[in-house]
Symmetry: C2
Subunit: 416 residues, 2 copies
């Protein structure tokens, strides 16, 4: 309805019985440099945007980039089984593509279970990795053949025992996650001591105590963070072996980065750090390894195209412009909360002189500010109506969008 | 699809070829006191929840409470025209009810314009109050008869002049908003000096410079905040009168509270503070007054019912439990960001001893924590599967919900 309404909307000033007044549209100066800079965008996506001119805001995901990122993970971590974290981007096309390439899937809810099954993923390639599940949701997954479940507390273990008898379970432990741009707080995991006790109880409940998981924080930039966590896991293997419980699996979670504003090291180095830590702590007796990437598989594959709605100053002599886009915290850019994730931004006016800018979204909500402290600079020549591309936005964007806060529709995704 | 899948889901443990293991469901101790405390919930909503047993999480809005809040505003601010801020809760039933009661409407987008028109609201009762509008959206509203627009910058004024010739415009000014629980930052408004200049230019563009707006912050608890803002508006009236421009309207925005955990003063006192300031600064020559309440009209009318998904401790000896609900930051409780809005919470186990708790939502996102620092205490007897009611959640909840982050569906609203 909104789309139709917008299509019917009119730009310009039809004349009623009011006096017509000419308000000038300011002409645009464009330097030659601008073209060169804009070309940094993935050419396949740039071509799509140029040819299709989709309404903004929208997210365009290049499936070739997703495929390449998956292959790179397989190349550098050949010993690990990849479970794609569906929550990062649940676009059905992405699930299908990764399914065809052999990926497994980490899901958070019955809807994500159903999505994977609908896309032809066999149940034995799905891990229910959310440690907070309703008992009936565990049963829903179990009824559909899923036999791998995460937990980090006694109450959850009891639910799994009742609703998924005999299933493989892995316990998530709390680890340090300094260095992550989207740190994981203490919401998930329990102390390793408690995890050991729970895995012992798991066997008593008739479950299969399969392994240990942890997560060092999303967009982790400190490669040493995996070592301590893997060391803790190895200790748990040893302690439980004394109780005649043989753990077989270490789930190293996610944390591999996408390319935002700061520099990140290549995936190769992350893989080397992880595998180095595993061989250091496990020696010749390597466990099964599971990795749950989301951001690193789909992040770089996406570009959000937006339009500048307004450029304003708050007072005479204000040296910082406010640049308002048609995408904001509530229709795709939730990860700018506390300015955590700093996306790279390209504009139609790149190449000329720049000045400091506060960047905000289109809603009437004062919290809908993307960057105020992060020292973003935008071209001084940027004007209302200009297109702006926000790069590496394939992960944790469209699925975070609100149902329609302030009447702005959710972010539309095009997989190409 | 999710709903159907959930309906088909099974609780308990059907036996395959695994060994059946009995996992006890712990019995529940309930004191007599608990019943009394639970009864604090609006009885009409409590009856609805008891009789209909809607799936959780859900938001139930009592339209009688909305009507009463609207009447109270009219009673204490008889001189003001009420423009309901649709964004606070765009449930069509609420728009219809307030429309029938004579309310006007403050909208933020074409979809909100369309919603009001569909519900039979005449265009002259609609104000396009978002200061950040695409030119084609201004045109969309103008084509449908809307003639009242907000702005706070030259670029926006130019767009309005082109797309809505002759319209009434009001300029939003920046004011202090200390004391607000959901403060408004500097995203909206310009300095009064700039506003004066822009209102002069508005006339030059063929627009009707109608008035001044401000907003002292949502859930404002300091009643003196309106005085300074109204004083600034009055000065602008005087200054512009010297240029032969007669402003006629002061839009005092919103800011009136709903009832969250802290005490708030009765609406009567807010109204007295506002009217006192207006008569103090404008004397006998009172301007038209517009008020744009959202939270104070619908906030107290809503109750979210949720279910406890998990109660866990993170380590042996941990004195704080983590209580995970099936509603969180991404499916309705976005205003718990930075623990800003502190909702009152009632549980099925109220009346017994309580202990400290961290309260979190159901997603795999570590940011999905509602209260960690705000010293919430919950009954020690609270168990997985218990119902929990989150009170005064009629505003800024359902419309903030994500489209399905982690596969959790948006919050469903029932207006009764």
């Amino acid at each position: 309805m909104v789309a139709r309404a917008l299509a019917a909307a009119r730009v310009g000033a039809p004349l009623g019985n009011e006096v017509p007044v000419v308000v000038p549209v300011r002409p645009r100066r464009r330097s030659a440099q601008a073209v060169a800079k804009t070309a940094w965008i993935n050419p396949k996506i740039a071509r799509y945007l140029a040819e299709q001119q989709p309404a903004t805001p929208c997210l365009v995901v290049d499936l070739d980039v997703v495929a390449e990122a998956y292959k790179e993970l397989r190349r550098y971590l050949p010993l690990a089984r990849v479970f794609y974290a569906v929550k990062a981007n649940p676009a059905p096309e992405i699930v299908s593509l990764l399914g065809e390439m052999g990926s497994n899937f980490d899901v958070a809810s019955p809807a994500e279970v159903a999505l994977c099954l609908e896309r032809g993923i066999a149940a034995d390639r799905i891990s229910f990795g959310n440690t907070i599940k309703k008992e009936r949701d565990i049963g829903f997954a179990y009824d559909r053949g899923i036999r791998l479940f995460a937990f980090d507390s006694l109450a959850e273990l009891e639910k799994i025992a009742r609703a998924a008898p005999g299933a493989r379970v892995f316990c998530r432990i709390l680890v340090e996650c300094t260095g992550a741009e989207w740190p994981l707080s203490r919401k998930f995991g329990c102390s390793p001591e408690m995890a050991v006790d729970l895995l012992r109880q798991a066997r008593g409940f008739g479950l299969d105590p399969y392994g240990v998981s942890f997560h060092v924080g999303s967009q982790q930039t400190d490669l040493t963070q995996w070592d301590g966590a893997i060391g803790r896991a190895a200790e748990m293997f040893s302690v439980l072996a004394q109780s005649d419980i043989t753990l077989r699996m270490v789930n190293i979670g996610g944390g591999f980065p996408a390319h935002y504003r700061g520099d990140v090291q290549p995936l190769e180095r992350y893989a080397a750090a992880v595998m180095g830590a595993i061989t250091r702590h496990f020696g010749n007796d390597l466990p099964e390894i599971i990795v749950e990437p989301g951001r690193s598989v789909v992040g770089d594959a996406g570009v959000i195209q937006s339009e500048v709605v307004l450029v304003a100053r708050k007072s005479f002599g204000d040296d910082r412009r406010w640049v308002y886009l048609d995408v904001g915290k509530f229709n795709g850019l939730a990860e700018t909360a506390d300015e955590s994730i700093k996306y790279r931004i390209r504009t139609a006016a790149d190449g000329g002189a720049t000045g400091p800018a506060v960047i905000a979204g289109p809603t009437c909500d004062s919290a809908d500010i993307l960057y105020e402290k992060a020292d973003y600079r935008l071209p001084l020549d940027l004007q209302v109506g200009d297109k702006v591309e926000i790069l590496a936005t394939g992960a944790y964007t469209a699925s975070y969008a609100s149902v329609g806060f302030n009447g702005f529709p959710p972010l539309k995704t095009y997989c190409i």
